[in-house]
Amino acid sequence: MTTPVLEVRNLTKFFPVRAGVFLRKVGDVHAAEDVSLRVHRGETLGLVGESGCGKSTVGRVILNLLRPTRGQVLFEGRDLSELSRAEWRALRRDMQIIFQDPMESLNARHTVGRILEEPFVIHKIGTSHERRIWAQDLLERVGLPRDSVSRFPHEFSGGQRQRIGIARAIALKPKLIICDEAVSALDVSVRAQIINLLLELQREMELALLFIAHDLSVVRHVSDRVAVMYLGQIVEQAPSREIYERPGHPYTRALVSAIPIPDPDRHGERIVLEGDVPSPITPPAGCRFHTRCAYAQDRCRQHQPSMETMGSAHEVACHRRRELPAPAA
């Protein structure tokens, strides 16, 4: 098999919790623990989970915006922690991120032209005339008029601003783009436009996408494979279709069953989980999901399950994966 564009191995990220007058460390937020994943060229890996499950932390560690507590991030086989500053800077061109709210990531005082020329300026590419042309080309590619270069971000709608965010992300022809809730804030009709644009660009540029989101129906549509996170850990990973049709983990089953289906004639059996997600500062012992799981037994409370295969390319971290009733269709 070819080297994946991105490989994350046993990534762990703790944030210290400080309290008291001397701000002594009193504990850790277990934001991500032992997360391993791979994204290949031209492939989308969806990373789903509820707020606070650590999915955005994983994205930020990959981009070196946060330092991992343990574990490795490999880009095309190279360990990022072993790179020199210069090497890292060169490599940074190949990995980009798109955020949920483009208004917060686009400088409101700069024209769109300046925003889009900036990546070229930082990496010292082209003359100022060339950069201006490239900025216009980028706008055209994402479906905005070329003369948008002289306008400011606030003059655009949410969907158009996300197009600008995408234009900036693809400016340096990256190999990997992390989409962190990139379409979550958009209205339905605009969301479909942006999803289509991302899929088109992926095909054209053979982009590897890490698509972080909480909207499961969107993730299913754009992803080749999906990884599900709960309280900092990946509990299931499988091809997109498989995970929605044959979810293995009880948590995934609850998530999938909770997707409101836009069809009044299709009422699936909705599994309503009891209670809230426990605190990531003191995660439960054993399987982290056992406090809310209808199938939990003693061993689930004592021993943490590891990821085991369940059919081809389908991995589940659940002691009882082979004993659960078949998921409701």
Partner: protein
């Protein structure tokens, strides 16, 4: 059919801005029946929330203006006076919950104090002990474990789902006839959303309230609502039962919206059908049909003449000159 619990007739309202007056809701009429759920759907800025605030008498003053419109609750007209008494009456008969309970709850007061304030307003005749008991009862009704302890806590000590439950408890304090839920689950995770939707359904069955559910999530509409109003740029584009709306949408906008959501059987990574273009700004609306600049059926008539809401099937209204072409 029984008399509707809430009737809104020809409601128009808007805001005074620096650039003059902008009408946000234009000639909206609907009826809500006890024990049923009416979905109000549409994209940001379509007027769904503003129309609900107008019904509640909660438009911010002096910028917000109700130009005209008649609002009747159980046959009684409540739209014309704006005295304090009437506002209290409305708050009691019509409860409202919002997307972000953290902005509606006061962060420096305990849950108990805020809930008791509401109870005092509605039931001043109760003594302290009885009010306390009522507060506990309300929290139990909305499924909050250990209510006695929760009453002593502050809003930030609760999770998002729990805060939304507290909001629902406060909205229920006056035993309202109507509950307006404005995107109550949009900020919540899917599994918590499932809990809250379940709770709202159970409360509605127990109290027989009429519920207006404002959302942009068509999935939630399909699972929850009996009847649906689709709004576009301040007007009702289509009104139908949820079943008819999803089976046979007659407005090109509704049709486009439904098709643009990935379904479980949409081929993976295939291009999604889209509605091209963007919603026109409310201060520069086209003279004819407001959807005409994005509609593939639009012709000269659509650009010149605004379509009125008219029956296309029994119990199904659409505001489109060309709905027959979509039906064909």
């Amino acid at each position: 059919m029984a008399e509707p619990i809430l009737t809104v007739k020809d409601l128009s309202c808007g805001f005074h801005t620096e650039d003059g007056y902008t009408r946000v809701v234009d000639g909206m009429s609907y009826e809500l029946h006890a024990g049923t759920t009416l979905g109000l759907v549409g994209e940001s800025g379509c007027g769904k929330t503003v129309s609900a605030l107008a019904v509640m008498g909660l438009l911010p003053r002096p910028a917000g203006v109700v130009e005209h419109g008649e609002i009747r609750l159980k046959g009684e007209q409540i739209s014309n006076s704006s005295t304090e008494a009437l506002r209290a009456f409305r708050g009691r008969r019509i409860g409202m919950i919002f997307q972000e309970p953290m902005t509606a709850l006061n962060p420096v007061h305990r849950i108990g104090k805020q809930l008791l304030e509401t109870i005092q307003l509605y039931e001043p005749e109760l003594d302290n002990g009885a009010q306390q008991a009522r507060a506990m009862e309300l929290l139990e009704q909305v499924g909050i474990p250990a209510p006695r302890q929760r009453l002593r806590e502050y809003p930030h000590q609760l999770s998002g789902g729990m805060r939304q439950r507290v909001m629902i408890a406060m909205a229920l304090a006056g035993n309202p006839d109507v509950l307006i839920a404005d995107e109550p689950t949009t900020a919540l995770d899917v599994t918590v959303q499932a809990q809250i939707l379940e709770l709202l359904g159970a409360l509605q069955r127990a109290h027989g309230m009429g519920v207006i559910f404002i959302t942009h999530d068509l999935g939630v509409v399909a699972q929850l609502c009996d009847e649906v109003l689709v709004m576009y740029a301040g007007r009702i584009a289509e009104r139908a039962s949820a079943k008819q709306l999803f089976r046979t949408p007659r407005h090109p906008y509704t049709h486009g919206l439904i098709r643009s959501i990935p379904q479980l059987d949409t081929p993976l990574k295939s291009p999604l059908p889209t509605i091209e273009g963007v919603v026109p700004p409310l201060n520069a609306l086209p003279p004819g049909c407001r959807f005409s600049n994005r509609c593939r059926y639009a012709d000269e008539r659509c650009e010149a003449e605004s379509p009125a809401l008219a029956l296309c099937q029994p119990q199904h209204e659409v505001a489109c000159h060309h709905w027959r072409r979509l039906a064909a």
